[in-house]
Amino acid sequence: MKISLSVSEESYKDIEKKLLALGFIIDDDAPFVLTERNRYAEFICGKDEDVSCHIPVSEVVYIESMGHDIFVHTKDKTYRCTDRLWQLEKALDPAFFLRISNSVIIAKKQVRGIRSALSQKFILTLSDGNRVDVTRSYYYIFKSEFGI
């Protein structure tokens, strides 16, 4: 049975060894994920042109959902991800990540500019130069989070 691990680096090797011994196959594309309680993801599993890779959350600028596809944007590259956006929202540390619309999660530290529009929304400029909108549903959450 294939399983994906989302655990801390310290316990990764130990858990991997135990699972392999029990006959599990460790695969990032596996339908099941083993996670630690009260722990947020340190990397996101994604694909760069069919090559599976771990994307450190510290490199993520924003995560965007387009239809059924999830794109993880870093400063240099964009990765495709198989997880749902709500799953990623739960997995990521809310101290560093914030959902700003139904289709976008941003890394708070990657925000370079905030512009208030008269139509009850904010337009954010991120560190990679891209612009994303904070929609009305998330307006007050964002405002409170940034203290503006």
């Binding site: 500019g113 905030i114 208030s116 008269l118 009850q120 405002k143 203290g147 503006i148």
Partner: protein
């Protein structure tokens, strides 16, 4: 008049509300930029532009209600003044002139003036009595600008020895610059005296009442048709301003 004024008021309010919102948004964005530069995330949050809009709208409504209440109260206090200016605009601006023979005056709507000739006075009127040729004239001019009474009242009597058959009279109202003269006349049998009353409009610059007496009725008829007094045996022009 009221609807364009209301529309103008609403547009003015909308313009100022829009201006205030844009100004607030500029200041708000400047504050956000400064906070981002300093790396601040806590502190007191500023109201959103939408909340500012609500507050400004409420203030605007309060101001509009206050202005309306003040104007209503002021207009109530100035009620009699409005009433008199109403008369002023309706009565004094209606330009008219009437001519009656003494026999006809008693049956006319001006009969109230019949009793004052030859020696009476009219309150609020300035009396000017004089003789010109064989005519005796008494002209009363109204000193009040808001009075509903006629602006002038005049009596003309022929005091000479001649005997005449017809009287022709013309009223010439002069209006505006360049001057336009509106003329009207009539030819009737002579009488003891003649009465004239009239009102000036705001555009009337003066009035001339001309009276000619004729021994020959045909000459009188000729003159009334040619709008002149050239065949009159005696005549007088009374200038009223």
């Amino acid at each position: 008049m009221f609807i364009p004024l209301l529309a103008l008021m609403i547009l003015t309010f909308a313009f100022f509300i829009g201006l205030i919102l844009i100004l607030y948004n500029v200041i708000y964005n400047y504050r956000i930029k400064k906070r981002m530069e300093r790396g601040e995330t806590g502190g007191r949050q500023w109201p959103t532009p939408r909340n500012v809009l609500f507050v400004v709208l409420i203030i605007a409504v309060i101001i509009a209600l206050t202005i309306t209440a003040i104007s209503v109260l002021t207009s109530n206090q100035e009620g009699p003044h409005v009433s008199s200016s109403h008369y002023e605009s309706v009565v004094s601006k209606a330009c008219f002139s009437q001519f009656y023979r003494s026999e006809d005056l008693l049956q006319s709507d001006m009969s109230v003036y019949a009793g004052i000739y030859p020696d009476g006075n009219l309150s609020e009127y300035e009396k000017n009595e004089y003789t010109e040729g064989e005519f005796r004239c008494v002209v009363y001019t109204n000193k009040s600008s808001i009075s509903p009474m006629p602006d002038f009242v005049a009596f003309v009597e022929y005091a000479g020895d001649g005997e005449f058959e017809k009287v022709v009279e013309y009223t010439r109202m002069e209006q505006g610059h360049p001057q336009v003269v509106n003329s009207a006349g009539s030819c009737e049998n002579v009488s003891e005296y003649y009465f004239m009353a009239g009102n000036f409009s705001d555009y009337t610059t003066g009035c001339t009442q001309s009276i000619g007496l004729y021994k020959d009725a045909k000459k009188a008829q000729h003159d009334i048709e040619s709008d002149s007094l050239e065949n009159a045996d005696v005549f007088i022009d009374i200038r009223i301003k």
